[in-house]
Symmetry: C2
Subunit: 340 residues, 2 copies
């Protein structure tokens, strides 16, 4: 099969790779219908995460089940399925608590490289969910977002404790931040402040439910949020970047007793205990337990209530995956959709 | 009046000070019935917080109202009152959200020095609460704890999201930690693991509801908590110390999705973003909004349902306050009760 492999920063190639095979009786092999480039893939592309050897890339996927292992019971060949980037048994105490990305038996699905024609998904019963039937192509972009980016924005809103009527600020205008806006809107937020200085993203944020746009960053951004909230701060803040600056901005924008839901994978974040203590701001985040939200997200997409696939503003054949990385890195594209 | 003043680390003196006076029409003057030494006072005593000039000490108090300013309406002379260590208007958005220690007009009551015969309390209407009548002396220790240490343990449990049936671990066996045990018990925790290597404190922890004692610290302490919880971790952890080590221990002891309620004033705490992210552990804490809990706490004490005053294992006349600091510093006493 064809699949993407990173060799060095800025060097992602699509090449011939071995077809994935069932290894464990709990595995499934799926034929990828659509995949994409994640903001977190850019850490490798940019050389911020070291690339020590040629590594298959991609961890967002949906597709048709081709084969299942002997112990797989909940899905069968021919079904269209979506799964999280972390495989989970969905039965251990952490899964049952709704934190499937901390599953005691978790495996990184992306190890197999989802930017490819086919993928082995471990722990298929606990990881994959089938749609009611095989969807039309028009639904693929939205369904694909449920594999990671939508679930991640959704978790940011859940972790930040967003409730009806709240004022919510979203730090980060990447696909996760934009879908954090969508999630906050679905959670019933009364006011959603998107922090973005990029016109196309501001526009999409407004489509997804943003009521206000703040273009300032850091201290100026915090001051602007305070201005907009009578000096109080936002009730909930979604941190969707992962830098120290964005985290400090998120905490500073939150009212005492409010929560920051943080889902940007931290790079260089170091929090001093004393200012955090006196801020009274709560923190909750981590790798999004997408599996917890999958049933609800698939239903919302299937019934046309949300259209998160709009974050894909670039569509490419798999062979041109490197163009997708470059376009996202240079912020020419929000998110690149790939068809094998 | 007589009152305690710190001159240098290890040098707290009781001396003649000016009687407090009404300055603002929202002030009250109270005659102190009982006061005490706080764990946080020891930061000054030990020289960890700099003592730059002679400073009145003490911020935990209860007593009889002597005089009120012209705008005070909810309390009157002759009443017995208890208040938080931070004065709050109890009407601003932060107060209404239950975070009175972040009141937009907050003032540190301890600035006047509560280890004294009398004290000026600003924003009396929003800060003080009167008991049904003047209590017997026997109730004084328990009522006094509601001013800070009980409310702080209580907030740790609330911030850690303790709910019925949960397994709760408490890091720190000072008075706050011990009352965190009491709070967790009142919140209906099914199992309460007190981390302590001090026999008298273990005994009191058990009286307050601890079901298990863990004497190990740091990585060994975390491993022990994991052992006791089938490898899962505690559902909620109360961090009642404030060092980096205790914070790391608390986070490590918590299950994914669980919360650390942290109330120890941080000294040298620096949290790396990445391990916190992957732990899935939430953080919520800060200076306890004692005022939020005062009505409930006073009621529980008044009706004999809880007896938090047991944390006082040393009772001294105010004139011997320095002996109280020394005894607590050397861990000969859990908490020193003082009568002017």
């Amino acid at each position: 099969m064809r699949g993407a492999v990173i060799y060095a920063p800025g060097d992602v190639r699509v090449e011939q790779r071995d077809d994935p095979k069932i290894i464990e009786p709990t595995d499934a092999i799926i034929r990828i219908s659509a995949t994409c480039v994640c903001g977190s893939d850019l850490w490798d592309w940019r050389g911020i995460n070291a690339v020590t050897e040629p590594t298959p890339m991609g961890h967002e996927y949906c597709g048709i089940v081709e084969e299942v292992g002997g112990e797989v019971g909940s899905i069968k060949p021919g079904q269209f399925v979506i799964g999280s980037f972390f495989a989970s048994d969905n039965t251990c105490p952490h899964c049952r608590a709704g934190y499937q990305t901390s599953c005691q038996h978790r495996q990184f699905v992306g190890a197999g490289g989802a930017q490819a024609e086919a993928l082995r998904v471990p722990l298929a019963d606990g990881t994959l969910l089938a749609t009611p039937e095989v969807p039309d192509d028009a639904l693929l972009p939205s369904l694909l977002t449920a594999s990671d980016v939508l679930g991640t924005g959704w978790f940011a809103a859940a972790a930040a404790n967003v409730r009806p009527g709240m004022t919510v600020a979203v730090v980060g205008d990447g696909a996760v931040g934009l879908l954090g806006v969508l999630a906050a809107n679905q959670f019933g937020a009364g006011r959603i402040i998107a922090m973005s200085r990029h016109e196309a993203r501001q526009k999409l944020a407004r489509e997804f439910g943003a009521t206000d746009i703040v273009t300032e960053r850091s201290d100026e951004g915090v001051a602007r949020i305070k201005d907009l909230t009578d000096g109080v701060g936002a009730d909930a803040v979604l941190e969707c970047v992962g830098t120290n600056e964005s985290m400090i901005q998120a905490i500073g924008s939150t009212r005492p007793g409010g929560f920051v839901g943080y889902v940007g994978v931290p790079h260089g974040v170091a929090l001093q205990g004393e200012p955090l203590f006196y801020s009274h701001v709560g923190l909750h985040g981590g790798p999004a337990p997408v599996r917890r939200f999958l049933p609800e997200l698939i239903d919302l997409i299937w019934t046309g209530k949300i259209n998160p696939g709009k974050v894909f503003d670039l569509s490419l054949p798999l062979e041109q995956v490197a163009d997708g990385y470059a376009a996202m890195d240079e912020r020419r594209a929000i998110k690149a959709f790939l068809r094998p």
